[in-house]
Symmetry: C2
Subunit: 180 residues, 2 copies
C-alpha cells in the first residue's frame, strides 16, 4: 500500500504541524515508511500552503506527492488550488463552514463544519489543524488513532496536550457523524 495525503490551508493554520504529526505517528508507531515534505513555490507567498505525507509499506522511491489520495483543505484558495491534484476516487475533506467544491463522481467530498465546532468547543481556532487531522484519520483509517494520539501528545507544547487531544477527538467525531 502507498498513500499520498495533502494538508492545505493558509500560512499559520498549522498544516505543516498536522503533517509532521501524521508522518511521525505512521513511521514511529505504526512501522510505515514515510516521507513528509513541504515544497515552497510561488504559491506559498500567495497564501496557499500545503504539506504532504506519503505513507507506504515499502521503501518510497519517488519522494514527491503526485496523485493525492486524501486532500484536506482549510481554505477556499487551497481547495481551488489543489482539487485537481486529487486522483480519481480520492477523498477531499473541506472545512464546510467556509469552503466548498462542486460534487463530482471523481472524488468523495466530506464537508465538515470544522471551524464552527472548533470555536464552539475551544473558543479559538488554534487547534483547527489537529481537528482536521482527527477528521482525516476517522475518514481514512490509514493510521491508528492511538498512534496519532501519541504523536499529538509528543508534539504538544507544554500545557496544550489536553486541548490538542480533545481537538483530535472532535475531528474524529465530526467525520464519524458526516461520513457515517
Amino acid at each position: 500500500m502507498k498513500y499520498e495525503i495533502r494538508f492545505s490551508g493558509s500560512g499559520g493554520q498549522g498544516v505543516i504541524t498536522a503533517s509532521v504529526i501524521l508522518g511521525a505517528a505512521a513511521a514511529l508507531y505504526d512501522g510505515k515508511k514515510v516521507i513528509q515534505s513541504q515544497s515552497y513555490g510561488p504559491e506559498a507567498r500567495g497564501g496557499a500552503t500545503k504539506a504532504d505525507v506519503i505513507i507506504a509499506d515499502e521503501k518510497i522511491f519517488y519522494p514527491k506527492a503526485r496523485r493525492i489520495d486524501y486532500l484536506v483543505s482549510l481554505t477556499q484558495k487551497a481547495a481551488d488550488k489543489f482539487v485537481n491534484t486529487v486522483k480519481e476516487g480520492g477523498t477531499i475533506i473541506i472545512d464546510g463552514d467556509f469552503v466548498d467544491l462542486p460534487d463530482s463522481p471523481n472524488y468523495r467530498l466530506l464537508r465538515l463544519p470544522l471551524t464552527s465546532n472548533t470555536l464552539a468547543k475551544f473558543n479559538r481556532l488554534t487547534t483547527l489543524n489537529i481537528v482536521s487531522l482527527g477528521a482525516f484519520i476517522e475518514a481514512s483509517k490509514l493510521v491508528s488513532a492511538e498512534s496519532v494520539k501519541r504523536a499529538v501528545a509528543e508534539h504538544s507544547p507544554a500545557g496544550f496536550e489536553e486541548m490538542n487531544l480533545a481537538s483530535f477527538d472532535l475531528g474524529r467525531e465530526l467525520a464519524r457523524t458526516v461520513a457515517g
Copy 2:
C-alpha cells in the same frame, strides 16, 4: 545556487522545527525555492532523526537531499550516521559538548559548545534546536538572519518568542566566536 542542509539529532530535540523554520524563511522572505522534508526509515526508531532543507534559486527537480552541504548534528549517533552524507568541502556543525568527529580535509568541522551555553543562558535545553539554527545561519550566511528571525517569531508558541529569538542570537554568537 543550490544547497542541501541536514539537521540531525534525537527525537524531541526539534530538528524538524529548525528545518521548517529555515525553509519558511528562505522561501517566504528570501524568495528562494525550497523543499523541506523528513523521510523516516528504520533509523528513525533507532534514535537518529534527520530533517532536510534544499534551498535553490531555480526550481528543484530532484527533491531528495543526496550530497549534504551543511550537516548539523546534536547527538553523536546522528553525527556518526550522517557524516558520510556530507559532500567534499562541506561544513559540519556539532554540539562540541557531547559530540565529536575526526578532523578531516574533506569537511570543515565546527565544534560549538551549544548545550553548555544554552543551559547557562536559559537553564534548560528546550531551544537547543534554535541555537543550532542560529549557528548554522552565522556559519553559512545562506539565508539572511532577518528573514530567519521573522520565521522564528512566527513559529514560536505564545510566550516563547523572546526566548527563541535570544536562542537564535546565542547560536550566531557561538558560531562567530569559533568560526572567526
